[in-house]
Amino acid sequence: MTQASQSESKLVSLLEAINTHVPSDSMVLLGAQLEQMIPFAAAHEILRQGRRNLTLVGPISDALFDQMIGAGSVARVMSAWIGNASEGLGSCFRRAVEQSQPNSIAVVDYTNFTLALALHAAALGVPFLPTYSAQGSEILKRNGNLREFASPVNEERLIAVRALRPDVAILHVQRADRFGNAHLWGSLGVAVDGARASRKVIIVAEEIVEPEVIASDPNRTVIPGFLVSAVVHEPWGAHPSPVLGYYGRDHEFFADYHERSRSAAGFDGWLKGWVLGVNGRVGYLAEIGGSRLASLAVKEHAYSAAADFGY
């Protein structure tokens, strides 16, 4: 990456970011921060653009993977948990696995720790990392990316977790500058390794701020811009998941999705009403309505103390 490219804005529309960087057949990392800051807006744009045959990677997925599977965009899932965190099972995931509806999918079961290690290995540039976890489990027997080996430094047996390098990571953040330097706070999950492990990174930000704002607090720059391919400004882009400092979790939206997705026909109606039949994210937010958004907005701000970088 040259100095010159650093000075060029990477700010693009969500439509353009997905169109350029997430072709069909991609391996896509989503949901790196677990139940907060899930990139729903970006995932829904992937569905609107009709991408197919995707491999989804993520430790857990709070309804997002279920929606993408139900929409027929997914061929394979590499994950530790696929469902709806506050409501229970994922109905589209079940239909795909049990009945091959709308299509069959390959499920590569991980544990949270082993998936995090797979991304960490890629972030470190090594082919695998060792762990004691997963020993004795059926997951170990069925996941070819987890292999037993004899430790070279003592008499133990360990599990080698093969490095996993997604084609693109889509990460929702609180704020970024136009070059992709991103501030992110709250629980980080696998976002740090996910950004470094992936070949490309798309940043979706609640706010675009001047580079000076980001540079004022480099400890909070979890993702440096030189790793980033595209920056998208998409306020409310993680709804119905929460973004600390911006909005809370829309529990009812998850509950409604859970009910409506119980049947394939119900899911199709949901998908048309909230994704395929709306005019992009603008249409989605209009459908949600201002009063509902207002009810989710921050009630009471809680700012951290400023850190002094002076010397």
């Binding site: 059926e138 390794d193 600390l244």
Partner: protein, 245 residues
Amino acid sequence: MMVVAAAREIRDAELVFVGMRLPMLAFALAKRTHAPRAVALFENGVAREAPAAEMLRTMGDPANLRGATFCGTMLDVMGLLQQGRVQVGFLGAGEVDRFGNLNTTWGRRGSATIRLPGSGGGCDIACLAQRVVVLISHERSRLVERVEFLTSPGFGSGNGWRRAQGLPLNSGPSAIVTTKGVLRFGGDGEAFLASVHPGVSVEDVLDSTGWSVRVADNVAETPPPTEDEFAAIRTLDPDSFWTAA
């Protein structure tokens, strides 16, 4: 009662790996009663000493992040777990068997086999926490002779199995807390009935368990919730969203 019995498995000042749903409530209850210095770890990378100000639907709710002791990465907390520094971890399951093995991958609903969400961090906690406490509704179809799919290892097929697999010393299941009682584990790795909850008979437990479960000679009644425990649950879950059952 299940939440109360689960909370009592936490000792003061312990590091506790908290899963989603009922374990969150059990931890909050323990903090407000007998274990005020316990520290909760969440797999999204959060450590918490102060209980969250409101009941959580997920570990990523803003109320679980604001006021946290620490917000880091998943590997930060999984590293503590793998070092053996986490004393107790809570897990739910579709099925648990007589050796404390858990299945959260494939379930049964009537005659149908259904796909469950999977391990999450469950297998990691089952492998690496010093003590694992399983929370499960007490039904014959869920407390089974042998799990259909071993997602998260307990004592495998009995004593010695965990070491043979390469799992750490000083790890493994400690208790199965159900809607009817508490099961603990003998030196042979097999679960036995240690106590029944108030109003539940030993016969009821035997009828509701999918294997001929051994009963402790001194099987007791689980002490009923104290005033303090009742009051804390009413505060934590005022709408009975989690404790209705």
